[in-house]
Every structure is written in structure tokens, then in C-alpha cells.
């Protein structure tokens, strides 16, 4: 007979932030039905309120940790940190989208509803304690994004990008399910701590089931590598980023990445850290991730040099940044630096979120209603017309480059440090060298704005207030975490994801 769960065993309290957000989304959907056309503008603000409420709950309940829903869901400091990143992303994403959607005739309230659900998916991803939950969360994250990519219908580029994203996304989901199945087959469980225990036993006992686990791990890496746009699973990224409406691109470039990396860290560092075969010192997936990271950094940075479209350039740039985070994930495969690697990855995600959202915010400001005006040459002489915005953009570009006193530097510093501590010196060197390459195309943007003649200007006579608010949040975040990184670093210190209690640390 099935045992009925009690409210106590569900332990709903720890799931409050995510629940609040999803409830908010549902309420939004209901409200929207009854709203007259001329009151539509309310939906965006309602969505923002939902996000902020969830953010507030997250910050208030950081000390409420534990498992929920019979171990499917876990809340710990990792979850809390990731929730903060994701919710800030969503909030800024809403702020920079509001005006843009209105002026490009896309102000359909489904946008906010989809955005909230995707955010919910990301939050579940960070809290997943079970392979099945990871799969469900991944779909919850992805499907709204597919729709949002095609939001600018009937424009073909947008539809094309949605279709491409959907097809390839479905393809990669297949990999994920296959991988989960293999791991379940080998270990008899999808519950991550149980998987860990089983894998440890398999490795120690020398059972041939280790091949199944290895294959499963590989397939999961493929699927999540697709989500975070790692080479060679990155090819959809430029097309989709370019075709999707810019606010969607902004949200997707940060949010999907955060979700993907959260899942990757959960699976690899909690579930499979003890997958150490053939008398090696680090987990078996480290080499694969290190190679992917190297490829990603190299290809992302070099390909970005060739781009003339800002959105495409930032797409390749986001590929490159995925490489840096992968470097931290690879470092987390070394038992001694597991926690440090996780912290580095999270710090990078946080800093990257602010910076990248800011950069896209500026692009939104200059993009014309027909979606043109986002090529690199369209920025010529921007500093003459809008010195402050140009300065802000330059600041974001410097942060993406990783110049000290910007958030980008802090992220890179943490990642390189973790990587060197893990003994991945070659990888760190590649990282440093490729970030030098990256400086080339980021600085080129600054040169276009400040040193070349031209008459680049905003698409509209004045900067919309919501967009300005979004830019201020992004700029402040980039500045504050650049100058005072310890504010965030202190939050990550508590993150001991590597299950020290189980002896996996």
C-alpha cells in the first residue's frame, strides 16, 4: 500500500522560494485573463513583484535547510546562492524587457508568465536532489525559453531561432534521459546521495557496472553541456541568440547557463565525485570537462573576434565564459578542491550575471524597433551622444574582459585560483591566454564608442525608466562585487556541497 506523505514529511517550508515564484506565475496567468487591454502594463510589474517576493523569501530563509518531498528536493546554501543569482537575473530581465516589448509590439503577457516559469525551472535545478527532478526542471527551464525565442513572430529570424533551439534542445534532452537511465541501471537509484553511495561501492568493488556509470555520466555531460553552450555543443548559440528578441537573449544567456551549471554541479559533485577509476586521483569526468573547457574557451574567444553583430559577438562571448565556469567545474572533480571549485563556479555565475545583463541592456537601448542597429559599427561615436551610457558599456566590457575592480575580474580570479589549486595549470594558462584574446573584441567595442567618429544614439529620444533601473542594478552589481567581492564570497563560504558528511569531500 502506498504510504501517503504528510505535510511534515514533505517539509514544504524549505521549498518556499520556488513555490512562491511558481504560484506567482500561476496567479499572473489568471489575472491576465481578466485584465482589459489598456491595463496590460500591470502584468510586467506583477511579475517583478513575484520575483522580488521570492527573492525576499530566499534571503529570509537561508538558514532553513533540509530535504523536501521525500528527498527529491534539497535546500542548502548552494540552493540559496543560486536562487539569488537566478532571481536577480529574472528581475533585471523583466526590467530591461518592459519597454522593449511595448515598443516592438510584443507586449503579450505570456512573456512574463513564461519567464517566471523558466526561472522556476532554474530554481528547481539548483535544488534538485534527484536525477528525475533534474530532468523535469531542465524541461521546465527550457520549454518556456523555446517559446520566448520565437516571441517576435511572424519575423522569420525569430521563428527560426525558436525552432532550432527546440529541435536541438529536444535532441539533447534525449541524451539526458539516456544518461539517467544508464546510471539508474548501474546504481539502482536516481536519488543523488544514493547514487553516490552506489558508485562508491561499484568503484571499490571493481564491478563492471562502472562502464554504465561512465557512459551515463558522459551522456549527462553532453546534455548539460548543450544547455550551457559548451563546445562542441554550442553551435545553436549564435543563431538563437541573434534571432531571439534581445531581452530573451539576455535572460537566456545568464539564466539557462546558471541552471545548466547548477545541474552539472549537482550531478557531478554530489552524485559522481567518487567515480575515480584506474587509480587516478580525480574523478573520471575531470579530463573530459577540462578538454571541453579548453575547447570552449578557445573557440568562443576566437570566434567572437570575427563577429560584427553585437548579439552574435556576445553569444560567442557567452560560450567563452561557459568555458571558464567549466574550468571551475573540472577543478571541483579533485577531492581536495571540490568545495573551492563549486564556490568559484558560483562566484563566476553571479558576476557574469550582472555584467552580461548590463551589456545586453545597453544593446536593448540602442536597438531599433525593427531589430536593426545592433551591429558593431552602429556604436561608432556613441560616447558623444550618450557619454554615461557609453561609459557604462565600457565598464561592462572591461568586466567581461576581467579587468580588476570589476566583477568579471573577481570571477576569473576565483576560477583560475581553483583551477591552479586543482593542479590544472595548463588549463589555467589557456584561460589566461584566451581572456587576453577576449580583451581584443571587448576593447574593440570601447574603441568604436569612444575613439571613432559617428552618430550612434539611442533608439528612442530618452532612456526608459525601467531600462535605466535595470542598468543601474547591473552596473552596481558589477561595481560592488568588483570592489568588495567578499560580500558574495562570504555567502559562498558556507557551501559545502561535496558531502563532507558522507566522506566524499
Amino acid at each position: 500500500m502506498i504510504e501517503l506523505p504528510t505535510l511534515e514529511s514533505l517539509n514544504v517550508v524549505v521549498t518556499l522560494p520556488a513555490l512562491a515564484l511558481v504560484l506567482g506565475a500561476i496567479v499572473l496567468l489568471l489575472v491576465d485573463v481578466f485584465l482589459p487591454e489598456r491595463r496590460r502594463w500591470i502584468t510586467g510589474w506583477l511579475a517583478l513583484i513575484g520575483v522580488l517576493v521570492s527573492l525576499g523569501i530566499t534571503l529570509l530563509t537561508t538558514d532553513r535547510t533540509g530535504e523536501a518531498f521525500g528527498g527529491m528536493f534539497v535546500a542548502d546554501s548552494f540552493t540559496a546562492f543560486l536562487n539569488v543569482v537566478v532571481l536577480i537575473t529574472a528581475a533585471v530581465g523583466i526590467l530591461i524587457a518592459m519597454d522593449y516589448l511595448r515598443r516592438t509590439d510584443m507586449n503579450r503577457s505570456e512573456y512574463y508568465f513564461l519567464l517566471l516559469f523558466s526561472t522556476g525551472g532554474m530554481m528547481f535545478m539548483g535544488a534538485a536532489n534527484d536525477l528525475i527532478v533534474i530532468f523535469v526542471a531542465l524541461e521546465l527551464l527550457s520549454i518556456p525559453l523555446y517559446v520566448m525565442s520565437g516571441f517576435r513572430r511572424p519575423e522569420t529570424r525569430s521563428e527560426e531561432s525558436a525552432l532550432k533551439y527546440f529541435l536541438l534542445g529536444a535532441f539533447s534532452s534525449g541524451f539526458l534521459v539516456y544518461g539517467i537511465a544508464l546510471i539508474y541501471g548501474a546504481t539502482g537509484s536516481t536519488h543523488l546521495p544514493a547514487v553516490w553511495a552506489a558508485v562508491s561501492a561499484i568503484v571499490e568493488g571493481g564491478s563492471s557496472a562502472v562502464y554504465l556509470v561512465l557512459l551515463g555520466a558522459g551522456l549527462i555531460v553532453v546534455a548539460l553541456g548543450f544547455k550551457v553552450a559548451a563546445v562542441p555543443f554550442h553551435m545553436w548559440t549564435p543563431d538563437v541568440y541573434e534571432g531571439a528578441p534581445t531581452p530573451v537573449t539576455a535572460f537566456m544567456s545568464v539564466g539557462a547557463k546558471a541552471g545548466g551549471f547548477a545541474a552539472l554541479l549537482r550531478v557531478l559533485v554530489i552524485g559522481l565525485p567518487s567515480l575515480i577509476v584506474a587509480e587516478q586521483t580525480a574523478a573520471a569526468w575531470v579530463d573530459a570537462l577540462a578538454l571541453i573547457a579548453a575547447l570552449t574557451m578557445i573557440l568562443g574567444n576566437f570566434a567572437a573576434i570575427m563577429q560584427t553583430n553585437l548579439k552574435r559577438m556576445l553569444a560567442y562571448s557567452s560560450i567563452a565564459h561557459a568555458g571558464y565556469i567549466l574550468m571551475a567545474v573540472a577543478a571541483a572533480g579533485h577531492p581536495a578542491v571540490a568545495n573551492q571549485g563549486v564556490q568559484a563556479a558560483l562566484m563566476y555565475l553571479l558576476t557574469y550575471a550582472f555584467t552580461n545583463l548590463g551589456a545586453f541592456g545597453i544593446i536593448i537601448a540602442v536597438e531599433r524597433n525593427d531589430g536593426s542597429g545592433v551591429s558593431l559599427d552602429d556604436l561608432r561615436g556613441f560616447s558623444r551622444q550618450r557619454p554615461w551610457l557609453a561609459l557604462l558599456m565600457a565598464f561592462f566590457m572591461l568586466s567581461l574582459t576581467g579587468i580588476p575592480l570589476t566583477a568579471g575580474f573577481v570571477g576569473k580570479w576565483y576560477v583560475f585560483w581553483a583551477s591552479i589549486n586543482a593542479g590544472q595549470v595548463v588549463l589555467a594558462v589557456i584561460g589566461v591566454l584566451t581572456s587576453v584574446v577576449g580583451a581584443f573584441y571587448y576593447v574593440r567595442v570601447i574603441v568604436r564608442m569612444f575613439l571613432e567618429e559617428g552618430s550612434a544614439d539611442l533608439a528612442q529620444p530618452r532612456l526608459p525608466r525601467t531600462l535605466r533601473a535595470g542598468l543601474i542594478v547591473a552596473g552596481l552589481g558589477t561595481l560592488i562585487f568588483g570592489v568588495l567581492p567578499f560580500l558574495a564570497a562570504d555567502m559562498t563560504t558556507g557551501i559545502q556541497i561535496a558531502l563532507a558528511a558522507l566522506g566524499g569531500g
Binding site: T156, E160, L163, K164, L167, L168, F171, S172, G174, F175, V210, Y211, L214, L215, A217, G218, L219, V221, V222, G225, F226, V231, P232, F233, M235, W236, D239, V277, A278, E279, Q280, A284, W285, D287, A288, L291, I292, V337, N339, Q340, Q343, W413, Y414, W417, A418, N421, L484, P485, F486, A489, T493
Partner: protein, 792 residues
């Protein structure tokens, strides 16, 4: 008074606030307001520095480390035990630097209000000047190498901004088109040359971190272990009969520190210097992964890297070439940044790291030789310059060489002492030359107005504008500018090392230390340093005499020189500053008189400054006086001044004429060599810059354009990729890939057919790429196991 050290962040924040006010409100404040804010900020910093000094004197010179609450953390990774913080250090060394920087800095701020009068970028100038103070203070007060490095880079930035401050001047220049462009190039040169040095310093800092796991000089509350060794070392240099009294004073002082040392347990929480001592005592090796090196070797490497940084910032061979060009900046900048403070940062670095240098005799010898040759080369080039500021610039190079050489010889006290005295008299000389230049410009304007055109028709200089800095255009200024003349005379005598002016005490101490290092220490570099530094000192006296006679004596050689004066607006404040500095140049030498020196010994405390420093600089030792040497040096200096008078007093040089030295056959070649600055710039251009430009061109054109773009990208990548795609899509896709994948392939193809209008086939390629990636990962994951199996 115990709380005074807590004020130390103010030395950084006061100028910061000042510059923010001027930055935001400068447009509305007017010249007077801007000047007052900037001066106020500088004086506040000076006041705080004085308070720190008082606090130190009243707490037995105990160093303290100050943090500011929320701003403490900078780079921190608890998991990796990395903790680099914004900490301020108050000890005798940093307070000395603070006093010099803010004291001289305040005077120069005051002077600049007169000098920059009427400049259209007046507020900006003072913003930069205050910004410089911010970074310089950060440099000297930081408690770890990284904070120091922030200051180090920051002052470099300010130097760059201020050298090219007049980048928009439109006057014609023979070589560079406009003067503005020349100024910009000078700034750029300083920036680039300094980057080379900074690269070395950064490597050194990395190595320090790798070796010791921290960058802090000393942790809060830590006492230098080397304090005990310090006494022994001080005695070593003091074997000379006259030095015995000093040994006693040291011996009396050290026990207190020695007890503190025993009370201090050796723990992991030690700063780099104490760790270095411990490592040395234990003979530890530093692990570099595949190999390990003894700590001595590592310290030698660190100090050599530091030396590269020093050669950049403190203008030593081979990187000194930027400093003479840096005179393109406004004269207060030359005085503050390129003579008194910033360029001495290298000396500060060596003295701060005296524990490292002490343990690395090889590096110290290299430092000595670099400094010695710089002193000689700078002094030699100064002999043949026409430009009043160029003479002073090369003189600065030369004097910095003296300081570095002294630091290399282990005479850290003498090096710092010369740094302090030099700050006074060189600032005086630069500011004096600024007054002269200003007066010449005014005179020139006066003449130009009177005659509507000026008289420089003849000679090959007819295209050039009038050069107010060319000493050949001057002469007889002592009549028109008597107060400036008197101050300048004092500065000259101080620089030439004439008793009893400041330069005499410090230069003589360096020479005596070099002699002692050679005779008593048996160091070869001591002999070399002594001989060459002595020659450099002779050069110093000669070129200063030459300048004095060309500028102030004789008859005015141009109309402009006739109409100079020091009474217009701006002059009173400038001349007043000169006189303050002149008083300083006379008296400041008395802070560190040697023991046993004539009537001074019984009257004044001896070695006061060195003893003050020795609380921080553990290897500082008191210098000794060599009465005979002092007599000879002063006599020779006076002789050189008179020789200069003999040559230049008799043959006044007019623009276009030849120098008296050039006329005589025996000296013509030497003079030409000096006048051409020993072809140093040309050599660099020929052997470094030219090849570098050509290499860059080759890389851009051939490697990037022809090879990478045309060949690799177009031919190898694109064609090969197209070919591979064709092969992979047809036979591989149809033949090899089975099952589910085939289904996906069909799906992709079906969809591709549907969206043919949109980039046919690309999604398939994308999916294929995912597949290959998957295969790659599988192979990588299974590789270790397969290897193991095959190995068995």
C-alpha cells in the same frame, strides 16, 4: 595618542576627497577655490603624517597595522587560505615616506597655484595632482605587496596623465610636428617603459606569494625576527675606529627588540619577511612542483625581479630613458613626481624588502652596479645638455643611481637619507627652473609685443619657436631675479655636496659607505661603486656649476632674458615656496649627521634618522664619517664649480654657438657624445623598437593575413570542414550511425526540408557536432579504463 595610527587612512582619503570635490565642482570653484581645496587636501595628509610621527615617537616606535572596518577585505578565498587585505602600515619607514610625499607635495601644490595660473585646464591639473597623492600614499602605506602595487601602478598612471598634460599645444616642433604631440609621445614612452619594469615587479610579487603564501610585510603585531641580526650587522659595517660609539648605541637599543623576538612564537601567521628569515634559518627549500629550489635562490630571483621594477620606476639603466622625456610635463609635476617622490618608489621598494636583499648578496651586487653606472651615465649626459630641465632630469637619474647603489651596498639608511635630502634640493631646483622658464616666457612675450617679431633670424634655428628652456638664451638672471637666484644657489650647492648643505651629509655618507664596503667588507662592487660614484659626484658639481653660470651670471644673451622678473602675479607665491625649500635644503641634512664629526657631534644627536629607520628597516646600519674623504669630496666639488666658472664664465654661449667644450679639440668628441645622450635612445630604436615594429608588421601581414586568414582559415578550415561535412553527412550518417540516432538524423533531415528556406542543413550540422562531442566525451571517460586494460 594610541589612537593616532587609526587616522592613517586619511592620508589616502583626504586627497581623494579633495580630488572628488575638484572633479565635480572644479568648474564653479574658480582658480582660487580649486587651489585651496587641493592644497587643503595635501596639507591634511601632511598633518596626519606628522601625527603618525608623533604617535610613533611616543609609543617606542612600535609599528601598527590599520584596517578600515568594511573596506578591509579585498581578495579572500578561505578555502585556499588566501587573504589579501587593504591594510595600512604605520612604521618609521612609511612615516618617513609619508612626511616627504605630503610635505614636499603640499609645497608643490602651493607653488603650482602660481605656476598654473591662467591655464585652461587648471582644475584638471589639481585633480591629477591629488590623484597622484592618493596613489603615492597607497604605495608607501600599504601593508602588503599587492596594495603597494596598486599604488605603484596608480602613480604610473598619474605620471602618464601629467607628462602629456599639455597634449593639445599647437606650437610647432621641429621633430614631432607639434609640441602637443611631442608631449603625448613622452607620456606614452613613460607608460610603455614602465610597463616593462612593472612586469618584473609583478613576477616578483607572484613569486613571493608562491613562496610564502601571503603578501603581507608583517602581520599585525608581528615583530621583525631580523631585529636581533640587525645589531650584529650594524657592527659589521662599523669596524672603523670612528664608528665605535655607534655600535654602543645600537647595542644598548637592541636588547629590547631581542626580548620581543623571543616572546614572539614562530607560527604560520607570519608576514613574508619573518617567514623569509625562518626559511633561511632552517635552510628550507621552496617547492615548484617538478623541482624545488633553496630559499636563497628563490630570494635572489625575487630580488632580481624587483630590480627590474626598480629600473623602470626609478629610472635606472636600462630603463631610464623615459625620465628625461618626462620633463615635457608642467614643471611642478617634474618636481613632485619625477624628482622628489614617485621615482624614489624603487628605492623605497628595495629598502622595504631589505630582508630579501640582505639575504641575496648577488642581487645586491647587481643593484649596486646598476645604480653606480646609472649615476655615472646620468651625470655624464647632464654635462652636455642645453635644456635647463634636461640637465636636472639627468641629474635626477644620476642621484637616483646614488640611492640605488647605496641600497645595494646595504646602506639602507644612507639611501633613504639621500632620498629625503634629494627630495628637498631637487624639488627646489626644479621649481626654481620653473620660475626661470616662466620668467623667460614672460620676457619673450614682452619682447614680442614690443617688436612685433623677435630676433632669431640667423642660424639654422630659424624655423624653431623661441625655446624658453634653452640655457643659451639666458644669462644674467641674478640681477633680474635675485630671490630666485639665491634659492637656486643654495639648491646647487646642496646638490653639489658642499658643506654644510643637505647634499653634503647624504652624499658623503653614501661615498663613505661604498668605501667601507670595499675596504672593510672586501666587496669588489664596493670599490667600483666608490670610484665611479666619486666621478659622478664630480660631474654633478661640474654640470651644476655650468648651469649656474649659464643661467644666472654674465650678461643677458637674449632680449627675453633682459625682461625677466619675479614680480608679476603668481611669482610671489612661487618664490616663497623656493625660499622655504631652500631653508629645508640647508637644514635637513642635520637629521642624520655621522658620529665623530667635528663640532656637530657634541651638539646634535648622531645618526638620528638611521636609528629612526632602524626600527623598521632591520638591516639599516649607521654610516660613518670619513673626515679625509669629506674634505677631499668638498674640495673637489668646489674645484669643479670653479672649473665650470672658468670655462663658462669666460665664454658665454649664445644659441647657435658651440659650447666651449665643443671648440676645444680634446673635449669635442666627449661633449658631442654627452650632448647626444650617448645615443641611448637611438640604440634602443635601432635594436629594439625597429625590429619590434618590423616583427609586428610581419605578424600582422604575413602570419595573420596570409597564413592564418588566407591559408589556415580559408583553405584548411573552411574547405576541410566543408569536405568533412560532406563525407560525414553522407556515408557516415547513412552508414554508421544507427538506431535512435538514425531516427534523429531522419527527423533532422525532415525538419531541414521543412525549413529549407532558413539555412538548409545547418541544424543537421549542429546536431552532428553534438554527436561528435558525445563520442569525444565517451572516449575520454573510458580512456583511463581502456588504458589500464591494455596495460594489463
Amino acid at each position: 595618542m594610541e589612537n593616532f595610527p587609526q587616522l592613517v587612512p586619511l592620508v589616502v582619503f583626504a586627497p581623494l576627497i579633495g580630488l572628488l570635490i575638484n572633479l565635480i565642482l572644479g568648474r564653479w570653484l574658480g582658480e582660487r577655490g580649486v587651489g585651496l581645496v587641493a592644497i587643503g587636501a595635501a596639507l591634511t595628509a601632511f598633518g596626519v603624517a606628522v601625527l603618525e610621527w608623533i604617535a610613533l615617537a611616543n609609543t617606542g616606535y612600535a609599528p601598527s597595522v590599520v584596517e578600515i572596518g568594511i573596506l578591509r577585505d579585498w581578495l579572500r578565498i578561505p578555502a585556499a587560505a588566501v587573504d589579501i587585505a587593504w591594510q595600512f602600515r604605520v612604521d618609521t619607514l612609511s612615516v618617513t615616506m609619508m612626511l616627504v610625499v605630503s610635505g614636499i607635495g603640499s609645497l608643490i601644490h602651493i607653488y603650482a597655484t602660481g605656476y598654473m595660473h591662467g591655464d585652461k585646464m587648471y582644475p584638471r591639473f589639481f585633480v591629477y595632482l591629488n590623484l597622484f597623492l592618493v596613489f603615492m600614499m597607497l604605495l608607501v602605506t600599504g601593508n602588503n605587496f599587492l596594495v603597494m602595487f596598486v599604488g605603484w601602478e596608480g602613480v604610473g598612471l598619474c605620471s602618464y596623465l601629467l607628462i602629456s598634460f599639455w597634449w593639445d599645444k599647437t606650437q610647432k616642433d621641429a621633430k614631432y610636428g607639434t609640441v602637443g604631440w611631442k608631449n603625448s609621445l613622452a607620456g606614452r614612452k613613460a607608460m610603455i617603459v614602465n610597463r616593462i619594469g612593472d612586469f618584473g615587479l609583478l613576477l616578483g610579487i607572484f613569486l613571493v606569494f608562491w613562496t610564502f603564501g601571503t603578501l603581507d610585510f608583517y602581520k599585525p603585531g608581528e615583530v621583525p625576527i631580523a631585529a636581533a641580526h640587525g645589531a650584529a650587522h650594524a657592527g659589521e659595517g662599523e669596524a672603523h675606529a670612528e664608528g665605535e660609539a655607534v655600535v654602543d648605541t645600537h647595542a644598548a637599543e637592541t636588547p629590547a627588540e631581542g626580548e620581543a623576538l623571543q616572546a614572539q612564537p614562530l607560527s604560520a601567521a607570519m608576514g613574508v619577511f619573518n617567514q623569509a628569515e625562518t626559511f633561511l634559518a632552517e635552510g628550507r627549500e621552496v617547492n615548484f612542483g617538478p623541482f624545488s629550489l633553496p630559499i636563497q635562490t628563490v630570494l635572489t630571483l625575487i630580488t632580481l625581479f624587483f630590480l627590474l621594477g626598480v629600473t623602470g620606476k626609478s629610472a635606472q639603466i636600462p630603463l631610464f630613458v623615459w625620465l628625461p622625456d618626462a620633463m615635457a610635463g608642467p614643471t611642478p609635476v617634474s618636481a613632485l613626481i619625477h624628482a622628489a617622490t614617485m621615482v624614489t618608489a624603487g628605492v623605497y621598494l628595495i629598502v622595504r624588502s631589505n630582508v630579501f636583499f640582505h639575504a641575496a648578496p648577488f642581487s645586491s651586487a647587481v643593484v649596486t652596479l646598476v645604480g653606480t653606472f646609472t649615476a655615472l651615465v646620468g651625470g655624464f649626459i647632464a654635462l652636455g645638455q642645453w635644456d635647463i630641465k634636461k640637465v636636472l632630469a639627468y641629474s635626477t637619474v644620476s642621484q637616483l643611481g646614488f640611492m640605488v647603489a647605496a641600497a645595494g651596498l646595504g646602506a639602507y639608511g644612507a639611501a633613504m637619507f639621500h632620498l629625503v635630502t634629494h627630495a628637498f634640493f631637487k624639488a627646489l631646483l626644479f621649481l626654481g627652473s620653473g620660475v626661470v622658464i616662466h620668467a623667460m616666457e614672460h620676457g619673450h612675450h614682452h619682447v614680442a609685443h614690443a617688436h612685433a617679431e623677435h630676433g632669431h633670424e640667423e642660424g639654422h634655428h630659424e624655423e624653431e619657436a623661441f625655446d624658453p628652456q634653452d640655457m643659451r638664451n639666458m644669462g644674467g638672471l641674478r640681477h633680474t631675479m635675485p630671490r630666485t637666484y639665491r634659492a637656486y644657489l643654495i639648491g646647487t650647492l646642496a646638490l653639489a655636496g658642499i658643506f654644510p648643505f643637505a647634499g653634503f651629509w647624504s652624499k658623503d655618507e653614501i661615498l663613505a659607505d661604498a668605501l667601507n664596503a670595499g675596504f672593510l667588507g672586501g666587496k669588489l662592487e664596493g670599490y667600483i661603486a666608490f670610484g665611479l660614484l666619486f666621478v659622478a659626484a664630480l660631474f654633478t658639481a661640474f654640470y651644476m656649476g655650468r648651469q649656474l653660470w649659464m643661467v644666472f651670471f654674465g650678461e643677458p644673451r637674449t632680449e627675453a632674458a633682459k625682461y625677466t622678473g619675479e614680480r608679476d602675479f603668481g611669482y610671489p607665491v612661487m618664490v616663497r615656496v623656493l625660499e622655504v625649500l631652500a631653508v629645508g635644503s640647508i637644514l635637513i641634512g642635520l637629521i642624520n649627521i655621522p658620529s665623530g664629526f667635528w663640532i656637530f657631534d657634541p651638539v646634535l644627536p648622531t645618526h638620528a634618522f638611521t636609528d629612526f629607520l632602524a626600527h623598521t628597516v632591520v638591516y639599516a646600519h649607521a654610516g660613518s664619517a670619513q673626515m679625509l674623504l669629506a674634505f677631499i669630496a668638498v674640495g673637489a666639488g668646489i674645484a669643479m664649480l670653479l672649473l665650470a666658472r672658468f670655462i663658462y664664465g669666460r665664454h658665454p654661449v649664445v644659441d647657435g654657438d658651440k659650447d666651449p667644450l665643443e671648440v676645444r679639440e680634446q673635449t669635442a668628441g666627449i661633449f658631442a657624445y654627452s650632448n647626444a645622450r650617448m645615443y641611448w635612445d637611438e640604440t634602443y630604436y635601432r635594436f629594439l623598437e625597429g625590429p619590434f615594429n618590423r616583427a609586428a608588421l610581419w605578424l600582422a601581414d604575413k602570419l595573420d593575413g596570409t597564413f592564418l586568414h588566407d591559408f589556415v582559415h580559408e583553405t584548411l578550415l573552411r574547405d576541410a570542414y566543408n569536405g568533412a561535412t560532406r563525407v560525414l553527412t553522407d556515408p557516415v550518417d547513412l552508414g554508421l550511425i544507427d538506431g535512435a540516432v538514425n531516427g534523429v538524423g531522419r527527423l533532422v533531415r525532415w525538419v531541414a526540408g521543412g525549413i529549407r528556406r532558413l539555412q538548409t542543413g545547418y541544424v543537421r550540422v549542429y546536431a552532428l557536432s553534438v554527436l561528435f562531442g558525445a563520442l569525444l566525451i565517451m572516449v575520454l571517460l573510458l580512456a583511463p579504463l581502456l588504458r589500464q586494460m591494455l596495460g594489463m
